[in-house]
Amino acid sequence: MIRFPEFPRSFAEARSWSWVWDALVFCGIFAVFSVVLLIGRYWLGAAMPAAEISRSPRMLPLYSLYSLVRIAIAYVLSLIFAVGYGYIAAYNRRLQPFMIAVLDILQSIPVLSFLPGVMLAMVSLFPTRQLGIEMGAIVLIFTGQVWNMAFSFYSSLKSIPRELREASKIYGFSAWQRFFQLELPYGTIGLVWNSMVSVAGGWFFLMACEMFVLGKRDFRLPGLGSYLQTAAGAGDTVSMMWGLAAMIGIIVLLDQVVWRPVIAWSDKFKFEQVESAHGSGSPILDLLRRSRLLESWQAKITTPLWERLNRHFAHRPVEKKEGTPVWIPQTIGMVLGAAVLAGMGWAGMQAFHLLRGINGADVTGTLHAALITFLRVNAALILASLWTIPAGVAIGFHPRLARIAQPLSQIAASVPATALFPVLLLAIISAGGGLGVGAILLMLLGTQWYILFNVIAGAIAIPSDLKEVAALFRFRSIDKWRTLILPGIFPYLVTGLVTASGGAWNASIVAEYFHFQDHLLSTFGLGAQISAATDAGRFDTLLLATIVMAALVVSVNRLVWRPLYRLAETKYRLET
């Protein structure tokens, strides 16, 4: 290798410290290894669905670790699935419309109503091992975070510039090389940002699913979520503070150790013609890049392996060879398709069977509840918009303010709303409020950030020459908002509102119905209905309420958000 002949001085300096970095990296590897051992022993141990949750802060590191591992495994599964799903959806013309529709619907379904079904299925798969319960939690988090990642990768693949595709075709890239040199790099930025959103969402669900009641069965997994809920249930403020501190600590740590380096690394995948002025740096990434251990690993193992794989796949053009009979993949496809259809038919029959027990009163009740929750969701959206739009625009317009406000709000946003629910509930109850209004606040808690961040991004993206025009002509502030700011942030605002609305619907399941200090707090609403049905093990009402909620979310998406999106893309698009 004869790369990088430049920077001799800084290079030499970096080299002389290399053993420290090596030691750090080595420690890291060792830590990972022991965690794997620990988790393995716990998972393969006997099943204990309702673990005793200690309120001692000394248990917090272990609980945090358990929660972290759940999130991590669910995330890795999501990533693999998302890439595979996006790839197939982008390239298989016949499956594409179907797969995209599935994505659209699954994204809108309130994941928490899957909880009972998934949990029961997993427990019956591994009845004697802790693995079953753990798998249930992981699958649930997985279903909560995978869809936006899959959609992001799919749309990245679809938006690869034509000339890059042609270049890879004209130079005869194999599918393998095309994937690693074109498709995956092109999708990386989208995947990274969606991963961050997904993992934040994962915490939300983890908090909810670590401790819940299903009919007569009590599920409790040792973890941060169950710790917080137990502490809240016991009214133990000190433990709650400890739990929250641990939570925030983990989130800040993840941000520093995982996301910062990943974002800094993904900088090189930005599809831009000119280098942007400020790249994001990360000390951890520098550490990894300087490590001699990793370097020799790369030189001795990764690179040769990669070369061999590449040579193995080279000379195989993307097109199918003429010799392969067409009927084999076709038959496989048909068999698979038939199996999927049969499975769906069977599931439909089962659902129909379940729903036969529902009477008219149940349906009107559910619709009524849906209306109430619908109003709550929108109230939360309006309330959130009221403060986030001015705040976001202020932050976006003033770089100095942004430097202080942005990291703070990022940390605030990444604390899962479900972790804060118990704390907030305490406050609401002591203030004498009921859950009917309280639920709106709880929804607000989780969803306002989506709007805030999108508004900030939109305000930053308003070109400065337009701002200068507004200043030059001395726009009054109402004119400035009407002609410049609101149209400028409109596309971003729509994106933020769509995400926030989805989040609010999901939050309604936790926000409208809460076990608190041995008694139940609940208010009338669709979310409460879903939670109550889960508690009581009434699958027919659960299914009905879930269907209503999914239908509502999908139709609002189609009828309201999609036309707004189209408007944003055509009329309010700022060409750069």
Binding site: R3, F4, E6, P161, E163, L164, E166, A167, K169, I170, Y171, G172, F173, S174, Q177, Q181, L182, P185, T188, K268, F269, K270, F271, E272, Q273, V274, E275, T303, E307, N310, R311, A314, H315, P317
Partner: protein, 433 residues
């Protein structure tokens, strides 16, 4: 006629519409790309230039008709082509070196070989030292150099370019065009033909050996002609401007049937230039060749004679001009006339030289004729100076006349009086033709 590499037979592109109609993008078209030519495809936007390029490379399927590469349908095996794109189409996450290596990687070439070839080609396009940079750190012109390097590293048989200079500023484009032309003319590109799509008329006339102009609605060939202006082409010369005007007229009057392209031969033919060699040198070269069986490599010959190649070349050129030798693929070979000259005695040689010079050397013939028509058979230098001034620099005019004097004296056609500064016919000779 040179070898045909690509032949498009009645290729069409159309999109079927639900209502039985179809949108015809390109009408049935025949087009060949031949070895050794730079073919420029010009046309207004929407005339299907890029579509045609993509069909010829096999990137896009034809709706009807066939594209043949060496008489084989293009689908049967991927042709060895490269494309230089308007948007550069570099992978921003790969370094310059990795970008250039990528096509070699696709062919399963190992890392050392890959790096060696990529570095060599980067060097030849002037990107030495930029291997580790990322494309976004480079200027537009540099990026397109990487684009060229990546295209050339696979040694394509035909180099396709889709508006390669459109995204660059005027000066950079000009510079890069010049370098491309130089690579092509020095034969330092392994490429056998270049196919360039452009909307810039001047660019087409500067580069191309052949220009095809497309019309639109639907795309079709409106005119197809050769450009034989010598390189480097002068953008201000009349034949150049005539061609530009002609293409402009074709493009701006889509409803009219285009006329024939203007004859690019300039109205006044270019004056033949005599190589600065003396008859004795020509004789010496021919004798050497005769000793070597009538044929030799020029380099070897120059080495054996301890000559610089630059000193030998005028003598070779003079022999070729006089019809005594031919040059092909770096070898110089005697013609029968040359053979006869080498074997003749001095008087016969003079006869043979006289015949050859009056047949082939324009200036020698003109001087002889002018002197013959003058009653006193004398003409001052000024007269010939004025004729040659039109074509050559002052210095070159003097050298041309000097060479003509050497040749004329040897052939005993005419003589020159340096003191009186005039040409004259020797008294005792008649005018010989």
């Amino acid at each position: 006629m040179s070898e045909t590499i690509i032949e498009a037979r009645q290729v069409e592109k159309f999109y079927a519409q639900p209502n039985q109609n179809r949108i015809q993008v390109i009408a049935p078209t025949d087009l060949c790309v031949e070895a050794g030519e730079i073919l420029a495809l010009l046309g207004p936007s929407g005339s299907g230039k890029s579509t045609l390029l993509r069909m010829l490379t096999g990137l896009a399927a034809t709706s009807a008709g066939t594209v043949l590469w060496h008489r084989q349908p293009v689908g049967s095996q991927p042709p060895n082509v490269s494309i230089v794109f308007q948007s550069f189409a570099l992978f921003p996450w790969l370094t310059v070196l990795e970008n250039v290596e990528a096509p070699l990687k696709a062919r399963g070439i190992g890392p050392e070989e890959r790096q060696k070839r990529a570095l060599k080609i980067l060097d030849s396009v002037g990107l030495d030292g930029f291997e580790a940079a990322y494309p976004k750190e480079l200027s537009g012109g540099m990026k397109q150099r990487v684009g060229f390097a990546r295209a050339l590293v696979v040694e394509p048989e035909v180099l396709f370019m889709d508006e390669p200079f459109s995204a660059l500023d005027v000066l950079t484009a000009e510079n890069l065009r010049g370098e491309l032309l130089e690579l092509w003319q020095r034969r330092s590109m392994p490429t056998r033909a270049v196919f360039i799509v452009t909307h810039n008329i001047e660019e087409a006339v500067l580069l191309a050996d052949r220009i095809v102009v497309l019309g639109k609605n639907p795309g079709r060939i409106r005119t197809d002609f050769r450009v034989t202006l010598a390189h480097p082409r002068d953008k201000k010369s009349k034949p150049f401007l005539d061609l530009v005007d002609y293409i402009y007229t074709v493009l701006t009057r889509p409803e009219e049937e285009p006329g024939a392209a203007p004859t690019e031969r300039p109205a006044r033919p270019r004056f033949q230039m005599l190589p600065h060699a003396r008859p004795g040198g020509v004789a010496g070269l021919l004798e050497m060749l005769a000793e070597r069986g009538g044929r030799s490599d020029i380099h070897i010959l120059a080495d054996d004679l301890a000559f610089e190649l630059d000193d030998l070349l005028p003598i070779v050129d003079a022999s070729v001009l006089l019809g005594f030798a031919n040059v092909s693929e770096g070898d110089v070979e005697m013609t029968p006339e040359g053979q006869a000259f080498a074997e003749a005695d001095i008087l016969t040689r003079k006869d043979l030289f006289r015949r050859a010079a009056t047949t082939h050397a324009t200036l020698v013939r003109q001087i002889t004729r002018s002197l013959a028509t003058k009653r006193d058979h004398k003409l001052s230098d000024e007269f010939f100076h004025d004729i040659l001034d039109e074509h050559f620099s002052e210095e070159e005019t003097v050298r041309q006349l000097e060479t003509a004097v050497h040749w004329g004296r040897y052939a005993e056609l005419f003589d020159h009086d340096a003191e009186e500064r005039r040409f004259f016919l020797p008294e005792d000779t008649e005018v010989r033709e």
